[in-house]
Amino acid sequence: MLASRLIAQCAMDRGAFARTAETIGMAQRGGSVVSHVRWCNEAAAIPSPLISLGSADILIGFEPGEAVRCLPYLKAGGAAVVSVNGITSAVASLSGRQVEASVFVEYLRKAVPQLILIDGAAIAEKVGSAKTLNMALLGAAADLLGFSAETMLDALRKRLSPRLIELNKRALEEGAMAKEASI
């Protein structure tokens, strides 16, 4: 949620009109969560907050299985930035239908030519917080989104309390570095 609003804020700071759509409340209870972000020079060009199937430019995946679930939104030629670490589903575990994260990662490699994979868990460990995966992904996606590091930092300052800035800034930087490594 924070990630989608940050992207929208960055777009607004550059003079665009932005919309987001979010699923609220399900993430903590183990549900899957999708946020849509759209921006454009004029509001009338993006009447709906939701992106139509097959028309997203960029897909940011916090988890490989979830990235695969949302792949139908991505347009042909679109790019994806995905963290490779899987999150097990309690229900799938109960019924014994667990699929390894690597299966999804392999599929993404084949399906998305413009794919950036980052090791979110490693970055979280380096930065010292598992809650900064969103920033690591945004850092890795910054170029694709067309936002400079400064734009992102400014947006971060607008939407986060000062004591969290340093941590999130480091995650952004680590993400950007991980992206280089991924290529």
Partner: protein, 630 residues
């Protein structure tokens, strides 16, 4: 003024504040909750903001504020409006003084509600104006306008955004605020006392004002000609988020058409509708929930085909999308009209990446199902588990209620046999027991729901000599909607201290002689307590006390000593804790053992108490003994 990124619910809050609101009340309910939370967070000077115990109370208190001239906002979800319907129906007859706006957020899908009801229908039934924003920016403007409308006609005004407006964000331009409206004070008069004679006169007034009201609401409705200046033959009538989907679909198809966007559907804007229909060959209505606009148009159509929910061109239930509208348009519009002039890329031209020729979509691995489950470390899991164990082998019915704990119906717990509406667990159990006397009847109810509408049910049970066990799951917050305070938490909506209600004392005061309190995380004690209660007769109560993981500080996570784990799967299969799963252990030739996700585990200790080999221990103990790790 500046543009800020606001969620629809935040936009409602800012709209109310900028309209000079001074009294805000409500009860949490998805998708409405953030509206009141935003006012509470901003704490503007001179504004009273409260979480009321239920929606009826919230509306009545706001009516009082309005009688004395204050502008008041009441927030709730659509099913909350059912609870508030008693004061609402009468309030229209009595009228208001300070502007009174009721946010009743609808939930198409439904995504997190019991019903797919439509507040616009409710407005028709109650003969009230209702504004239906299609975006956060419109929600801001409409909230401000709603206060004006309310004062102009001395009528409560409903505002009904839907989930995709409430939980969408957009760049909203804040306008110059109206200074806080200082309440003029209550002026006594016979108009404040509802009497049949008065109501007869009021009813005549309510009906007579409708044309005037429709005229005043004209600015909320509009006709747009889209794509070119040849005469339009196709019309699309829409409202709320349906307007956004309709405009998106029309943009994608490059369709020449005329749009009628209705933001104020009651009374129905007949004059504008007639203007819209004039010259058209067919009309499609795009709206979620009930066919309100469609039914409003039907008598005006004069034989021109009208498509929508009644003929099945648009889904009768569930959410819409731009894609659904596109395909609906394709079924009613001759193909030549589409892509005729200057069409943008159409739906068929847009190709998703998955399923493209390079990768066979049959290869696409299916992502795991992720239905919502009780959180790791949730005390409800512990309570359900204890009662399940205690009732094992006896005939028992478990009545549930509305809250996180409704999720207790999922396997492996399977502990919610009924769920109807707020507070109904307590009362349904009473009737069940009468008609099925053999069964032990349990009613599970959360603390917030208990205060909302559980107490009267308990009193009824005591008075009518019911035989049942009330189980209060006291986690000291309103969990489902994101932890709002309530009378039991000792905290007000704005985070100040408040008198703390004791559930045990209330139960005793209501006449429940047998009340027990237990910590659900102490499995043995919790089972024992339940046994004791089961062995008694009459109305008895157990209060399971343990805070929601969202308000308590998590403890040290647990870990598995895999050398000792038998792989029996008891822990996973009995509890369904999302932190527990099975994985093959590389260290032991791929033997399947339990695994704890330490990022999720709160160290509640439930699994440790039921593991037959006692191999689950706090993580630091294990590290010391050289265990742990796969």
């Amino acid at each position: 003024m500046e543009h800020i990124l606001l969620m629809g619910n935040e936009a409602v809050a800012y709209g109310a504040i900028d309209a000079g609101v001074s009294f805000v009340s409500g009860y949490p309910g998805t998708p409405s909750t953030e509206a009141l939370e935003t006012v509470a967070r901003l704490k503007p000077d001179g504004v009273h903001v409260e979480w009321s115990v239920n929606e009826k109370v919230a509306l009545e208190a706001a009516a009082g504020a309005s009688y004395a001239g204050a502008r008041a906002l009441v927030t709730m979800k659509q099913v909350g409006l059912n609870v508030a319907s008693d004061p609402l129906m009468s309030l229209n007859y009595v009228g208001v003084k300070g502007g009174l706006v009721i946010l009743s957020a609808d939930d198409p899908g439904p995504i997190s509600s019991q019903t797919e009801q439509d507040t616009r229908r409710f407005a028709q039934f109650a003969r009230l104006p209702v504004l239906d924003p299609s975006s956060p920016e419109e929600a801001y403007a409409m909230t401000r306008a709603a206060f004006e409308l309310s004062e102009l006609f001395r009528v409560p005004v409903l505002l009904r955004p839907t989930t995709r407006v409430c939980h969408a964000c957009s760049a909203v331009e804040r306008m110059e605020p109206t200074p806080l409206v200082k309440p003029s004070g209550f002026v006594k008069g016979k108009e404040w006392v509802i009497f049949p004679r008065l109501s007869y006169e009021a009813k005549k007034r309510i009906v007579a004002r409708e044309p005037e009201l429709a005229e005043a609401q004209r600015p909320f409705n509009k006709i747009d000609e889209i794509n070119g200046d040849t005469p339009a033959l196709i019309g699309v009538a829409c409202g709320g988020i349906g307007s956004a989907y309709a405009r998106e679909a029309i943009l994608n198809l490059g369709l020449r058409c005329r749009i009628l966007q209705i933001g104020a559907p009651n009374p129905f804007p007949e004059a504008m509708a007639a203007e819209f229909i004039d010259g058209l060959e067919c009309v499609l209505v795009v709206e979620e929930l009930d066919p309100v606009i469609e039914d409003g148009l039907r008598p005006l159509m004069n034989g021109i085909p009208l498509h929508g929910k009644r003929d099945g061109v648009i889904l009768v239930a569930g959410e819409l999308s731009a894609a659904i509208v596109e395909s609906a348009l394709r079924t009613i519009v001759p193909v030549r009209a589409i892509n005729g002039g200057g069409a943008k890329e159409s739906a068929s031209a847009r190709k998703p990446i998955a399923g493209s020729e390079d990768v066979d979509s049959a290869e696409r691995p299916v992502p795991p199902v992720r239905p919502p489950v009780l959180c790791a470390g949730c005390p409800h899991r512990a309570s359900f588990y204890a009662v399940k164990r205690a009732a094992k082998g006896r005939k028992a019915i478990f009545c549930g209620d509305i809250g996180c704990y409704t999720l207790g119906n999922a396997p492996p717990l399977d502990m919610v046999d009924t769920c109807l509406c707020m507070g109904a667990g307590v009362t349904v159990a009473q009737g069940l027991k009468q008609a099925d006397p053999e069964a032990y009847c349990f009613a599970f109810i959360g603390d917030s729901t208990f205060f909302h509408s559980g107490m009267t049910g308990v009193l009824n049970a005591v008075y009518n000599r019911a035989d049942m066990i009330v189980v209060v799951l006291d986690n000291r917050t309103t969990g489902m909607t994101g932890r709002q305070p309530h009378p039991g938490t000792g905290e007000s909506a704005v985070g100040e201290s408040a008198p703390e209600a004791s559930i045990e004392a209330i139960l005793r005061a209501l006449g429940v002689a047998s009340v027990r309190r237990a910590n659900p995380f102490d499995v043995e004690e919790a089972i024992e307590t339940t046994h004791e209660a089961m062995d008694e007769k009459g109305v008895r109560a157990i209060v399971f006390e343990a805070p929601c993981i969202a308000v308590a500080k998590p403890g040290k996570p647990m870990s598995i000593d895999i050398a000792r784990c038998a792989g029996c799967q008891v822990c996973v299969k009995a509890l369904g804790c999302p932190a527990l799963s099975f994985q093959p252990s590389p260290k032991y030739e791929g033997r399947i053992v339990a695994h704890i996700n330490t990022a999720l585990c709160t160290g509640c200790g439930l699994c440790a108490q039921i593991c037959p080999t006692e191999c689950i221990q706090p993580i630091d103990l294990l590290c010391g003994s050289g265990g742990g790790g796969l």
